[in-house]
Symmetry: D3
Subunit: 300 residues, 6 copies
C-alpha cells in the first residue's frame, strides 16, 4: 500500500507565473514519456511479477515515479497559480484575452481545466494507457523499461533548454538524473537473468536469424556491424527476397463446400468487368469543357 508525505521529494521554487511554460511541462506530466506513464509501467509490472527481487525493484521505482509526478505537477501548478486565480475571479484584462486566443494549448488548460495540472500532453492530448508497452515477460519488459527511461531522460534534457528559471532548471535536472539511475538498475536486472537473449522461451529458426534483408536500394549502400561482417548473410537480390520459404509466394485456404458456394456467389455479384468503359460520376461532375475525361456513349 501507499503512504503520502506532505513534503515533496525535491523542493519546487518557481520564479514567476508562466502559463506558456506550464503547457510545455505537461509533456512530462500527462505526455507519453512522462511520469504517469513511468509510474504505471512499473506498478503494473510489479503487480504481475513473481520474482521477489524484481518485484521489489519495480515497486521502488514506481513509487519514486509517482513522487516525481507530484514534483512536475507542482511546477505546473505554481506556473499557473496566478493566472488561474485571475481567470477564476473574472479579473482578465485585454492582453490576457488576446494571449488566450492567440496562444498555444495553454488556452485549454485555462478554460477547460481551470489552470489545474491536467493529464494531457503539451498538445492537449489526454494520457492513454496505450502509452504503456508492458507485455508480462521480464526479458522483454526490462528492455522496454531501459528504453523508456532513455526517452524520458531526453525529454527532460529538452525542457531544461527551454527555461532560465534556476529553480525549475534544478528540479528538472534532478528528475532527468534519476532516469539515468533507473536505466542502470534495469540494465542490471536484465542481465541478472541468464540467458536473456533472444527474449522469451522459443528460439528462432536458424534459417532466418542471420539474414540481412537489403530492402532499400538504388543509392549509396552503407555498411556497418548491423548489416555486414560474419554475423550476417545479406540478401540483396529482389527475386531472392520474395518467398523466402522457397514456395510460390502466394496464399491459400481450404474452404468448405458451403463457403465455396458463397464465395462463387459473391465473386459473381461484385465482379468488375474489365472490358466495360462505364460513364461515371466523374464525367457527370466535370464541367462542359472537361476534355481530360473520355465520355463514351451512355451504356444501354
Amino acid at each position: 500500500m501507499f503512504f503520502h508525505h506532505k513534503k515533496l521529494m525535491y523542493t519546487v521554487r518557481v520564479r514567476e507565473s508562466n502559463p506558456q511554460l506550464a503547457t510545455l511541462m505537461l509533456e512530462q506530466f500527462g505526455g507519453p514519456q512522462g511520469e504517469l506513464a513511468a509510474a504505471m509501467r512499473y506498478f503494473t509490472q510489479g503487480l504481475g511479477e513473481c520474482d521477489p527481487g524484481r518485484k521489489d525493484l519495480l515497486m521502488d521505482i514506481a513509487t519514486e515515479e509517482i513522487s516525481h509526478l507530484e514534483i512536475i505537477g507542482t511546477i505546473i501548478a505554481m506556473l499557473n497559480r496566478g493566472p488561474k486565480a485571475v481567470q477564476s475571479e473574472g479579473m482578465l484584462e485585454a492582453e490576457d484575452m488576446r494571449l488566450l486566443g492567440q496562444n498555444s494549448t495553454s488556452h485549454t488548460e485555462q478554460i477547460l481545466y481551470g489552470g489545474g495540472p491536467a493529464l494531457v500532453n503539451s498538445s492537449g492530448v489526454p494520457w492513454t494507457a496505450a502509452y504503456i508497452d508492458t507485455i508480462g515477460e521480464p526479458t522483454a519488459d526490462l528492455r522496454s523499461n531501459i528504453a523508456a527511461e532513455a526517452r524520458a531522460k531526453l525529454v527532460y534534457e529538452r525542457l531544461i533548454n527551454l527555461t532560465d528559471d534556476p529553480g525549475i532548471k534544478d528540479a528538472l535536472t534532478f528528475l532527468m538524473t534519476r532516469e539515468v539511475a533507473h536505466m542502470k538498475s534495469f540494465e542490471k536486472a536484465l542481465h541478472s537473468i541468464k540467458p536473456n537473449f533472444p527474449p522469451g522461451r522459443v528460439p528462432g529458426d536458424p534459417a532466418f536469424t542471420d539474414l540481412y534483408m537489403d530492402m532499400s536500394q538504388g543509392g549509396v549502400e552503407s555498411e556497418g556491424s548491423w548489416n555486414s561482417g560474419e554475423l550476417w548473410e545479406r540478401v540483396s537480390d529482389r527475386d531472392a527476397q520474395a518467398a523466402l520459404d522457397g514456395g510460390d509466394g502466394g496464399c491459400s485456404v481450404g474452404l468448405t463446400e458451403r463457403e465455396q458456394r458463397a464465395e462463387a456467389t459473391m465473386v459473381m455479384r461484385t465482379t468488375s468487368a474489365p472490358d466495360a468503359r462505364p460513364t461515371t460520376g466523374a464525367e457527370l461532375g466535370a464541367g462542359p469543357g472537361a476534355g481530360a475525361l473520355d465520355l463514351p456513349p451512355r451504356e444501354p
Copy 2:
C-alpha cells in the same frame, strides 16, 4: 519510394476457415506490438535521420516490416475468407448466428469490417500512433527499437502456441525469427555510437546518479546488482528520502500584485469552513433509519 511485388515474402498456407483464430492474429496486424507499429516506427525514424548508415538500416527494416504486415494480414484474410462470403451473401445458418452473438470480438470483424483485416487489436481497439515512441534521438530510439522487437518476438511466440495449423505455425515462426534478427541489427547500430550512455547530450547530476531509493519497505528486502554493491548508495530512511535537495520540500512561486489580489479573492470565495458541521445531500438522501450519518440540526 516503394514498389510492390505480387509475391509475398513468405508463402501463406492456411488449412481451414477460423474467424476466432483470425481475431487473435489481429494482435500482430493492428495491435500495439504488431507489424504496422514496427513499420511506422522505423519509417518515421528513417525520414528524420541524418546519418546515412542508420537511415539505410531503418528503411531496410521498415520495408521488411510492411512486407510482414502483408503476410499477417493475408493469414487473417485467409482465415476469414469463407465466413466473409457466407455472411456477405446472406447464407448464415443458426449456428453461425449463435456464434457471432456469443463469441469474442470476431463479431465486430464480421459485422463492421465485413471479414476484411482491420487495423485493430484482438479486442477491437483501433491502431493508434500513440503506440509509436520515437523521440528523434538515436541513442534513445535505438533502445526503443530493441525493446519493440523483443516485445513483438514474444507476442509471436504466444500466437504460435495457439494453433496447430502447420502452415500458420511456419509463417509465424518466420516472422518471430526476423524480430530476433532485427534486434541484433539495432544492438549493433546502438553500440556503433560511442558513447551512447547516458543517452543524449547532457550528463546527469552526480549527486543523484548513484542513489538507490528504497521506496517500498515493510517486508523482506531483496538485494541484487540493481540496488546494491559499490555502484549504489542506498537511501532507506523515510526522512532522508524527502526533499533530497536539502530544502524544505515545499513549493513557492512569485506572484504579481494583481495575481495576489485575485488569489486572495478566490481563496475567500471558496474557503472550506473547518468548523462547520453542515447538513449534506447524503443526509437528505439517507433513509429514515440511516443511523450511520450524524444528522446535526439544520443550520440557520
Copy 3:
C-alpha cells in the same frame, strides 16, 4: 511524496484461477469508474488546490485510491497467475486454445499483456485521462467527486454479484464500502463552502433560471418537483420555445469587404441549382430494371 509498504491495505485471498473473472475485474482497474481514475482525479485536484483542508482531504483519498488500485490489481494478478505461467511456458492444451479463441477479451490479456493486469477496461479499451472531469473549481469538482464515488460504488456492487469466491467478495465489499465513506467526506467538504450554489462566481440570468422547457411532448406528461410547483415556470408552447430572447431566432455576423467578396465567390462556385434534374451516380449504378429511379434524358 509517496512511500510504499509491502503489505496490502486489504488481504487478497483468491480460491482458484479464473481468467474470465479477471477480465471483468479490469473494469475497476483500468475502466472509467475504476481506481486509477479515482486516484488521478483527486491527486491532480490536490496539486492545484490552495485551501489546505481540501488539499489534505484530496491527498488522503488519492493515496487510499492508489492503494485500492493495488488491491484490485492484485486480485487480477492472482486470478491470472496460473494461466499466465501455463501460456508463458508453452504448456497450453487443446481446451485452453479453444477457450482463448472463443472467449471474451481475456484473450487479449493473455496474448498481448501476458496475463499481467493491464490498464484497460473489461472490453480491452485502454484507460484514458478523458475519464477525468476535473475543471479546477471546488464547487464543481466536489460535486464531480461525489458522483464519481457513487458510480464506483455501483460497479463494485455489480462485480460482487458475479462471483461466489468468498475472498474476492470480501475484498470487493471493502472497496465498495470505502467509496461510500469518501462520498460522505466530499459532501461535507462541498457544504463547508458557503454558498456553493450555483457553483462558480457568476450568477445566472434571472430571466431563464426558473423556466422548465417542456421539449418532449406527445404522450402522457409527468409532473414532479423537477418540473412543476412554484419553483418553475413551464414553457410548453412550441412557438414560445423558439428564440427565447425575443429575437428572430436567426444568426448574423459582420463581415469585412474582402470576406464578403470571398463569400460571394464561394456561394457562386458551389451553388446547388434547385431546378436541375441531374443524372447521378445512382442512376449509373442501378441495374437495367431499376424502376425506382427516375432516369431523365442525359443533360447536354
Copy 4:
C-alpha cells in the same frame, strides 16, 4: 432548434431478452457507421453551410438520423431490459454469471453501463468524432455522405442476417431502406453543383492527371477502365516511376549558419561508426553456447 415527440419514428417490437444480440446492435448506435455518426455528420455540415437548399437538406436528414438513433437505441434497451433488472437487483443465477464471464463484450454493457445503451461499438470502443470526415467543402462532403450512407446500408444488411425476431428485422429493414433514400438525395445534391469534378477550386497539374502508376508488379496484370484505355498513360518502368518531376529524387533544405553548425555537432555526436564491431547487449544476454552471435574481443 429541436423538439421531441414521445412516439418513435418506427414502432419497436422485441420478442425476448437477448443481451448478446444487443451487443451486436451497438454497431449502429455507437459504431463508426452508426446513426450518431450520421446525425452529427449532417448536423455539423448544416451549421457551416451557406447554401439554403443544402442547409435544409442536411438538417432534414440530420434530424431523421437522430430519430433513427432513438430507434436503434430503443431496440438495444428492450433487448437488455430484463437482464438489466435481474443484474441490478442482485438476482443473477449461476448460468448468468458464467455467461457474463464467458461472453462477448456484453459483459461491459452489463457491468459498466448497467444495461443501458452506451455509445460504443460492438467491441466496446467508445464513439469518437474521429469517425466524422467532414471537411467543409460541399463537392467533397456530399461524396463523403454518399459513401457513408452506402456503408451504413451494408451494416444494416448484415445485422438483418443475424436475427429471426420479426419485429427487429422489420425495424432494421426500415432503417436500411432510409439509408438508400438518403444516398439518392445526396447524389442529386452533388450533381446539382456544376461542375463538381475535380472537387474544390484548383485544377490538377495536367502532367500528372492521366498517369496510371503500375506500382504492384510481378504477377498477372489486370486491365480495366481504371488503368487502361485512352484515358490513361500507364507508367510501369521502375526507373520512370521514381522522381516523376525529372529531378534527382533527393531532398534538400537551406539552413542558416547557426543551423549548419548545430547539425554538424549533432552528426558528430551521434555518428555510427561503420567499421566498429561492438559487443552489444545481445552478446551479453545470450547464453554460454550462443554460437549464432559473433563475440569479438572486448573493445578497449
Copy 5:
C-alpha cells in the same frame, strides 16, 4: 511484398527552415485525410479483395500512397532539420524559447518528437485507424475511396495556399493532382460493377425508398432534385412523420417471469415520487438570500 528505392517519387526542395509550416503539413502525414490513412485504406482493402482486377488496382494505389507519405514526411523533415539540430545540441536562443512557448503545436514536435515527423495531425492528435472506413464490400468501399480522394485533394489545395516556397508548392501540387487521378480510377472501378446501386445485396423496402422526410421546418423551404420531383414523395405533416410503420410508435419486449419480478423490484426501489417536494443539495448550497429556490420545511 514491398521494395524501397532510395529516390523519392518527387524531388523535395525546401527553401528554408520553418517549423510552423511543418506543423501544418502534418495534416497530410498523420492527419485523417493524410497519406497514411490513404495507404492503409487501400492496402487493407487489397488484402481482403478476391477480384484480381480490383486487388491489383488497390495495391497499385496503396503503394503509391506510401510513396507519397514519404514525400510529405520528407518535406516536414526538411522544414524541421535545422531547428531539430539547434534544439538537440542545446543551442537555443531566447527568441527560440519564446516561440516554442507561444507557438502552435510545433512545440510538441520539438519537445516530444525531437523534430522528427510524427504521425499526428496539425493539432498533435495521434493518427488512429478509426479514420479508415473500410467495410469489406466493394460497392460501398469504392464509394468511400472516391470520397476520401476528394477530401485529400481539398486539404492539399488548402496547404498550397499557405506557402510561397516554390519547391513545396510544386510537390504539393503533384500530390494533389494524383488524388484526382485516383478518384477517376475508383469511379471506373465502381461502375465496372453492375449493378452497384443500391450497394450490397439486399434491396430496400419500396414503402420507404422514395419518401422525403421534411424534418426541418419553420422557415423558407427549399426545393431541388434532392427532395422534389417525381422521384420523391414528401412527408411534411408532423403526425405522419411519427410511427411510419402505422403502429403506435411505442416499444415493447417479452420478459420472462424472473425478469418481470426483477423489474418490478427495480422500479419500486428507484421510483421518483412525483408529489414529493424534497429539499436538495441546491437549497443547502445556496446562500442565505437565495430566494430563487423554494425552501420547503424539512421532511420528517
Copy 6:
C-alpha cells in the same frame, strides 16, 4: 422522435470574424463539458429509463441540449464564416498565412475542417463517448448529471470572460443559466427517490463506513467536518492502515498441479540472480572515462 425548427432557441448576433475566439468556443461544442456530451448523456439515460417521470425529464433536457449545441455551433460558424470563404477561395494574404502558422489550434479548423464547426475541443481533440459517465442506475446517474451541469456552468462562465462581443456574451449567459436550471431539476429528481444514499441497492460494511484514513501526513493536519467529529473514526497510525481486514496483507491463490509446474518452470527460466554482478549495455555504452559505472571483470 425529433423535429427540427429553423429558428434557433436563442438568436445569435456576432459582431465580426474571429477564428481564434471560435477555437475557444469549441470547448462547449466538442469538448468534454460541452453540449454534445450533455445531450448524449441525457438521451442515452432516457432510452434506458423505466420510470416515466425521469424518462420525460431526461428527454426534455436532452432535447434542449441538442438545441444548445446548435446555438454554440452557430456562434462558431459565424466567427469563422468570413475566414472560411477567404481560405476556400484562395484569397489569403501574407498576414493570414503568418497567423495560421503561428496561431492556436484554429489552423486545424481552417485546414482540416474548412472552417466548419468540428466536434473537437479547443485543443483539437475529437469528442469521445468516453466523456459520458452514465452507468444505468438513477441514484448514481442523477448525481453525475448534477455534477456535469456544474462543470458546464463553469466553462461558460470562463468563456464569457474572454470576449466583449455583446451578442456572444448574451448567448453564452443564456446557455450558462440554463445549466443552473437543469441542476435544480436533477437535484429534485434525485431527492424524489427515497432513500438515495448510499446509491444502489447493497449497503456498505459497517466496519469500514466511518473510518477516515489519514494517508497524507508529515505537515500541518487540517480538520473539518469531512474528517473529524463524531461521524468519523480517524486512522492515522501507519501500521494500523495496512491490512485493515486483520490479515497479513499478503496475497494468495489456489493453483492446479499443472499451473504449479508451469509457474516453477517460469520462475526458474526468468529468475534474477541476486549475486551476479553482470556487465550491461550501460557499461558498453558509456565512454572511456565513465567512472560512474563499476566495470567488473567480464563474466566467463
